[in-house]
């Protein structure tokens, strides 16, 4: 589904990502862990097409198609979704109208008609219930004055509505208490299927207890330096990141 090979990317001439290799297949959950400043969020932004980052070298394909030059909206139309670490506040646009616009613009891009209002409403209700989101919340301005937890829950609500093929969760656990974390993780797990995939970007192992990864990759200084199964996450939790850095030096 996602094929990344020797990816170098960064701001202007400077590489932040220095040769990443990653393959994600349908049905898989990948976790990318790493210390602060290792390039985790940059990686998420580069896959989603944020314009301030440039790809300098390498291959980035989604379902066999080169997406390096695609606009963020074109990537979204193909089924990529980024849950933001810091969702942006947009006063004047309600959560409901935002999600309606996003869904219908995506449908339009695919040559589909707008989703009938009744169907949209039903879907909104269903997904809001699943994530224990209060109905009043939906008529508030997007992210404006939301608590950290509300923002993250709103991201997962959008994820549930958009039903992407590949979801990238960027530090979705930060700012969540344990109850909210369970609700969010539970929501993500319900959306999992054999046809879609998830990349969880996180600093801590905590979220991975609820969204269980098939693969764990450790990103240090713009490179994946170690990959393994979920036990790697526990190891990192126990030992921190320093031992990996030591290992790298030794190599």
């Amino acid at each position: 589904m996602l094929h990344i090979e020797n990816l170098h990317a960064g701001v202007e001439e400077k590489d932040i990502l220095k040769g990443i290799n990653l393959d994600v297949k349908p049905g898989e959950v990948h976790a990318i862990m790493g210390p602060n400043g290792s390039g985790k969020s940059t990686f998420a932004s580069v896959i989603s097409g944020k314009e301030e980052f440039e790809v300098h070298k390498g291959i980035m394909e989604f379902e066999g198609e080169d997406i390096t030059e695609l606009d963020p909206e074109e990537r979204a139309h193909k089924g990529l979704f980024l849950s933001f670490q810091y969702p942006v506040e947009i006063p004047g646009v309600t959560v409901t109208n935002f999600i309606k616009t996003a869904i219908n613009e995506t449908r339009k891009a695919k040559g589909l008609k707008e989703m009938p209002a009744g169907e949209m409403l039903k879907k909104i209700k269903e997904k809001a219930d699943m994530l224990e989101i209060d109905r009043k919340f939906l008529s508030r301005s997007l992210n404006e004055g939301f608590s950290g937890g509300e923002k993250k829950r709103n991201e997962i609500f959008q994820l549930a509505m958009m039903e992407p093929k590949l979801a990238i969760l960027d530090e979705t656990d930060s700012g969540l208490d344990i109850d909210a974390l369970k609700v969010v993780a539970n929501g993500v797990n319900k959306l999992k299927s054999k046809d879609n995939a998830i990349i969880v970007i996180t600093h801590y192992q905590r979220l991975l207890e609820y969204i269980v990864p098939d693969f764990v990759h450790v990103l240090v200084d713009g490179k994946i330096v170690k990959s393994g199964d979920k036990s790697l996450a526990y190891e990192l939790e126990e030992k921190g990141y320093d031992w990996i850095k030591e290992e790298m030096k030794a190599v």
């Binding site: 990537r75 979204a76 969702p87 109208n97 935002f98």
Partner: protein, 438 residues
């Protein structure tokens, strides 16, 4: 001959044709003297620092444009009217009243013409009590007073809720290569009465039009006035709109200005609160492109205690367009417990666009809550990326952010059809076809 000289010379010929017993005879003569002494404002005048009339005044305008030699059919101009709702209409074509397009009334309220009010003795007491009583004696208002002969005359007696909105529309058709129009509106709203008014100036040709309009509104005790100005004229038309609103106690006046078109637009908007517990709202959305220029010059004068005023102006400026916001709030020493709020937010879309924003608070009372805020910025790149990553294309994402920015002002429009129309105008102006429901 300069435009000023031409105007002063023409005045005497104009005056000769008017009856000496007109209730405003002396006022006219004083007004032309005033104009002759002061002339058109220049950039040296502090109030006109950012708006120059110089290039506008080079044009040789016809002061008394000749009338159109044919009838304008309703279908030709239908789009400029509201049509889902029934309205009163006061329509002028090149400064001349069009009975054909208008729908006036004398049935318990007067929605008619200034010219007939000036001619008939029964209106004399109203004219004597109100005409030119709120307008400043500055050069442009004086010029208008000197030549005042036509415009809307609206008189609502006590305890009347006017159910239909009143549309005042001034068309110009280009019968002259360039024309100067000076409509003069008088609106008197009696105690406890309600009225909604929509005003627009619209050129039907590309020939330059310079409109120097003056409107006086008097809101008596507990009156409610909701006034909308739609400024979406062609790119060769310029407008100076001086509006004076005088409020008695417990009255509530709201004036909304939507500026999307025109070459140069100057809004002199003056609110005078003369009684306690008045409420004034002034807001606007300005969206400009090319070399368009809009200047909002507002004044709220609080002379009595326990009143409120709210100002909220949003501007979006593209290309080499320029905007000015100069908002003055004046609080007299006896006007305690005033709540005056002023906000001016701007987005510059291009590097060449300019906005000059100047709040002025002059407060002589010590127990008041006055605040003002002014922002100038660009569209938020992070917000754009956020919207785009959700599948909303760049153009639509930009439009959505602009809509969101202007939304709270749009929300203040209380006539649903008008709100839809303004929504559409904004969409056209921003260049998108999606109808966001915000």
């Amino acid at each position: 001959m300069s435009l000023k000289d031409k105007l002063v010379t023409s005045y005497f010929a104009f005056e000769d044709n008017l009856a000496d017993d007109s209730p405003i005879h002396t006022m006219r003569n004083d007004a032309i003297k005033n104009f002759e002494a002061t002339g058109f404002p220049t950039k040296k005048d502090e109030e006109w620092k950012y708006t120059s009339l110089r290039s506008l005044l080079k044009t040789d305008y016809s002061i008394f444009p000749k009338p159109l030699d044919r009838t304008i059919e309703f279908r030709e101009v239908k789009n400029y009217f509201l049509h889902d709702v029934d309205t009163y209409k006061i329509v002028f074509i090149d400064g001349v009243y069009s009975s054909f397009l208008s729908e006036t009334t004398h049935d318990s309220i007067d929605v008619c013409l200034l010219s007939s009010a000036l001619a008939k003795p029964k209106y004399k007491p109203v004219l004597e009590a109100y005409f030119n009583k709120a307008a400043k004696k500055d050069s442009l208002s004086s010029l208008n007073t000197a030549f005042a002969k036509e415009g809307a005359y609206i008189h609502i007696p006590k305890h009347k809720e006017v159910e239909k909105p009143i549309e005042i529309i001034n068309f110009s058709t280009g019968t002259e290569s360039a024309a100067l129009l000076q409509p003069r509106n008088l609106v008197v709203v009696g105690e406890n009465s309600h009225v909604q008014i929509i005003e627009r100036h619209q050129s039907l040709s590309e020939n330059p039009v310079f409109t120097n309009s003056v409107t006086e509104v008097f809101a008596e005790k507990r009156a409610f006035v909701d006034y909308y100005k739609i400024q979406n004229d062609v790119s060769t038309a310029s407008l100076i709109d001086s509006t004076y609103i005088s409020q008695e106690r417990e009255s509530n006046c709201r004036l909304h200005t939507f500026s999307f078109g025109g070459k140069l637009t100057r809004n002199n908007l003056n609110f005078y609160q003369k009684g306690e517990r008045c409420n004034s709202t002034l807001n606007g959305i300005t969206i400009l492109e090319d070399k368009q220029h809009v200047d909002h010059n507002t004044l709220v004068h609080h002379t009595q205690p326990n009143c409120e005023s709210h100002q909220d102006y949003k501007g979006i400026f593209d290309d080499a367009s320029t905007g000015v916001f100069n908002g003055k709030v004046l609080v007299d020493s006896i006007a305690q417990k005033i709540d005056a709020f002023q906000q001016n937010n701007n987005i510059l879309i291009s590097d060449k666009a300019t906005i000059n924003s100047k709040p002025q608070l002059e407060i002589f009372a010590d127990d008041v809550a006055c605040s003002h805020g002014c922002t100038i910025g660009q569209l938020d790149e992070e917000a754009l990326f956020y919207l785009r990553s959700r599948g909303i294309a760049q153009k639509e994402a930009r439009a959505l952010l602009m809509y969101a920015f202007a939304n709270n002002v749009l929300e203040s429009v209380k006539i649903p059809e008008l709100k839809r129309r303004i929504n559409k105008l904004i969409a056209e102006k921003i260049g998108v076809s999606v109808g966001f429901q915000l």
